[in-house]
Symmetry: T
Subunit: 70 residues, 12 copies
């Protein structure tokens, strides 16, 4: 990370599959418009419950990407 | 969530399968006695180790349910 | 836990498979040199992204082990 | 508060009017079924936005009530 | 929130009227350039004092909006 | 803690004797109506002062109990 | 704020009217004995409940004032 | 606490006896110069160790007192 | 800050010189594309170590800028 | 503390007597293998409950010791 | 620190030179009116930006001083 | 960081020169006995004051090193 500058943005993703799929979905969406995404940090995990079952897993994450060569 | 009032309770669930199964087990148990459960938030993830292996995944979560029509 | 003294250490593990595998990898590594490991607590989950995909899941965890009979 | 024992519960209330009305609505609802409510603490304030306007104010609060004479 | 991805941004708004007006002012400003704003969370409340009176209420808030159809 | 589900509740107890007596008083009160209490966590310690002396020690604690066989 | 030194003090104010009036009351009281008060930060909002109604709003705030020319 | 304004100050006290004696020592010292002290909150507990024994218990606490009639 | 709305973004900068140079580098980079930057807050300081020496200082900071006249 | 380097480790101790005895037990155990222990910080207090009574007090603490002359 | 009582106050200092100079400036100012200052803790680092450059470094710190012989 | 396991330890270093020198001193000391140190995180900055001047800068930091090939 020597001489680079990074920006982090906060995203909320969700999935019916689980936490890891929700993270991946948010990262994939961000990658459509932001280049050079390098890392994420999981900040919060929540979910919606219907009929006594977890219907959606919802994750809040920070995503970091390199600014230098934009 | 417009005009409703919700109450949240804190539960600890565990599973030999993993984090998501531990969340689901706690939600299912709560649903036996509480109606209108709508969401959860994962607060803490711990586990017990036996013989160098994770033997149980243990999650602490908040569960929210609607009070209005009780 | 009545009369025992425990020490906790902090580890960072990673896996291409997911969060639970990263936890298990760190626990297994610690168990090579530390006896009597009893529990872990997940402190942080991060990951590295390459080409819009999560390439590695990285977990920070506390691991507790009994000191008494060392 | 000398010799009493109190229990606190966590509630989420909402209002189209504002934060204070949302607090009062949650307190009133709790008072229907819990006696001896004595204090609240505001933990979080959120809201829903529709058409660029705050449509509902949503507060999370702890409410404390005396257990002794139940 | 099933299949959507949300982004949150952090804003600081202020008002001579009070906290709720400061929140609404920041939300309105954001709505000029960002579509699909859905929620906010109040993070911090401060203010400037002149002559022993609160001259401006200043709020820091997170605002969340849907990314999917941008 | 393998297959059990636990619920935690938050209590405030007080004592003229000290912190440990305040914890014990709150636990005893809870045990009158809740079975299977297993652990507590001390969250906050406060007190009331009269005439330059601590008149009451007041503790806020979480108390956890097993739900399974209720 | 270039070359000045500020001191912050913590106050608790209350009001039957609401949060903003409680803040203003604490600021006004401090201004009776402290010159050059410049800002406040709201740290905590609580309240007392009587008969199922919020009887007093109670705010904890930091207040900052310039030390230089005292 | 209806119409009063309180100020809180932060103190560090210590004792060779234990935590509660350290709290009382700090409160007593404050009461020599500040009237109307009403409550304290324990923020941190530390201690000095000499020869494998706790030599001093050291507590950091907030102390609140009424400002109105000063 | 009376009538203005501000947005804050989070950046990560680094430098071989030290913490202050890393902050300045991140601010300078942001100023290339964002007008009206007014303040920063240092959130985290980390660094990379090579051969027992700090090779890079890495700072995470929030940067705030005025939105009004964009 | 001028020119010395210290290391801190985290321990969990317990006692049937109370919090202070649990701290002392953990410090004594550490002193068997670590020289130059100088201070501790209490991080968490929990306990196990049996039959409505606190059976064990359990403390988590950081212990600091000087590294220089090892 | 054996038998002494300390009080801590919170200050905000600033400098065009950097963080350490801002800390020293606040400490020097406090020392003009308070005797027996013994330690500080850095709580927050912010700064003002003009023309894409850090114009002032601003630090918030706690300063502790001995109360006994005042 | 793909397949490696890291351990983090907490150190306290100090210097009469400033924060960065205190960090470097702690890192250098750790490197005498621990191989493969890779990063640090600054957790806390404090200092001792004598005669109204900062006499020592004291930093608490986490230091991470690779465990794999030990």
């Amino acid at each position: 990370m020597s001489d680079h500058i990074y920006k982090t943005i906060e995203l909320v993703g969700s999935s019916t599959q689980g936490m890891e799929d929700a993270v991946q979905k948010a990262v994939s969406k961000a990658a459509e418009t932001v280049r050079n995404i390098r890392w994420f940090q999981l900040l919060d995990t929540r979910g919606h419950i219907e009929g006594g079952r977890v219907a959606h897993w919802q994750v809040t994450l920070k995503v970091g990407f390199r600014l230098d060569d934009e």
